[in-house]
């Protein structure tokens, strides 16, 4: 078949392109993963009974990981399209982490003498990252499946971004259960869990996201 014939074939009855296909596929995968992770945490560990009375710490967690999910989602979108610059999305991810780091630093500075250690380690530092990483698995799987239908120039980068988004989703679900209130704890240990997910995403992405 001549190339001109292929052009004719591809153009014939091609129809319009649906708007925002990339955004809709990624958002669907992330929301599906959030629903799955929420069901797992509610059924598995149960919701923190004091959740409603937690106040500022809960708002901080949800704001931080909500914003991180949006920024990582933007980065995943950029990384799933050929020729799309991602510097602004990377900068927004870094900016959000720095803002949370500033808040964590302030609470450590203002802590009474001898309290900084417990603000940093809380009572669940050794389980928190693993649980968040496990909770991010459904979102990561759905996101990788969605990106397989797209065209990521680098599977590793797209996988990393998807893993970060899935990690933020896992962290949002985990905050339903977690009783920790210190921003320093959230910054370090929650983010550790999200990073585990991101590293897994990069490793899987470089193998699975070929086209």
């Amino acid at each position: 078949m001549k190339t001109q014939e292929l052009v004719e074939l591809l153009a014939r009855r091609a129809g319009p392109v649906a708007p925002r296909v990339v955004q809709r596929r990624l958002a669907g995968a992330a929301l599906g993963g959030l629903a799955a992770a929420s069901i797992i945490i509610i059924a598995g560990l149960g919701v923190n009974p004091q959740l409603g009375a937690m106040g500022a710490p809960l708002v901080q967690k949800l704001t931080f990981f909500g914003a991180l999910a949006l920024a990582a989602g933007w980065l995943t979108d950029r990384a799933s399209r050929p020729g799309a610059p991602s510097a602004a999305a990377v900068a927004s991810v870094i900016g959000i982490v720095l803002a949370m780091a500033g808040l964590a630093f302030m609470t450590l500075l203002n802590a009474p003498a001898g309290q900084a250690g417990s603000l940093l380690l809380g009572s669940s530092w050794s389980t928190c990252p693993w649980r968040i990483a496990l909770l991010s698995v459904p979102a990561l799987g759905l996101l990788l499946a969605a990106i397989r239908t797209l065209a990521p120039p680098s599977g590793r980068v797209a996988g990393f971004a998807a893993g970060l988004l899935a990690g933020a989703v896992g962290a949002l679900a985990y905050s339903l259960y977690c009783t920790e209130t210190s921003p320093a704890f959230v910054l370090v240990w929650y983010s550790c869990g999200a990073l585990l997910s991101a590293v897994a995403g990069a490793a899987l992405g470089s193998r699975l996201l070929t086209w």
Partner: protein
């Protein structure tokens, strides 16, 4: 058609000094909204650009160029939705071409690229090559190897030119099923082109 004698492709190369981005993007925006004629023109223009892109990088294997042009055209079609209208179209097109070229090198060893540069040059220096070299792999024959439902959906809509509704009525499937079959069939063709060239 245009040139019956076997020409050297050097003679066929025409250096673009006009605004390819502008022309291609104008057509592409129309094509995205469903204008078939605009899409045909846009793909033909993209094909000529891709041919120049690959020829420049694969002087040592000109016979593989047309295979790669066709494989990339299929990918462009299947990945239409990943073009962000806020960004330059040629950046999207070149990123796909570059990905396909590097993928080709990976499958064939780097010797193919010994004299050729992967680096992008300024777009006004890229040749548009309109001569249609013969591809080694015949997509028409590959079509015959598709599963019956996918082949029929492609023949109905893409060769015969039936509307999706007409093709759905003929095959007794829903319209969305016809669209999915066409998409999956083209995807399989692209995968075959990738694995066998």
């Amino acid at each position: 058609m245009r040139n019956q004698t076997a020409p050297s492709f050097e003679l066929e190369q025409r250096h673009v000094t006009d605004d390819l981005e502008g022309r291609l993007r104008a057509l592409w925006v129309l094509a995205q909204s469903g204008d078939e004629a605009a899409y045909r023109s846009a793909l033909a223009l993209a094909a000529a650009r891709l041919r120049g892109y690959f020829l420049r990088r694969m002087r040592t294997q000109p016979d593989a160029v047309e295979d790669l042009v066709q494989e990339t055209l299929l990918t462009i079609h299947l990945q239409r939705a990943t073009y962000d209208p806020a960004l330059p179209l040629t950046a999207w097109l070149h990123a796909i071409a570059r990905h396909k070229f590097i993928d080709f090198l990976r499958r064939h060893g780097r010797s193919a690229a010994l004299h050729d540069s992967i680096d992008d040059v300024h777009e006004t220096l890229l040749p548009v090559v309109e001569h249609d070299f013969t591809a080694r792999r015949d997509i028409g024959k590959l079509l015959d190897r598709l599963p019956a439902e996918q082949r029929q959906a492609i023949l109905d809509t893409k060769i015969e030119g039936l509307s999706v509704a007409e093709a759905a009525e003929r095959s007794g499937a829903s319209e969305s099923a016809v669209k999915v079959r066409v998409h999956r069939g083209l995807k399989r063709l692209a995968a075959w082109l990738r694995s066998e060239t």
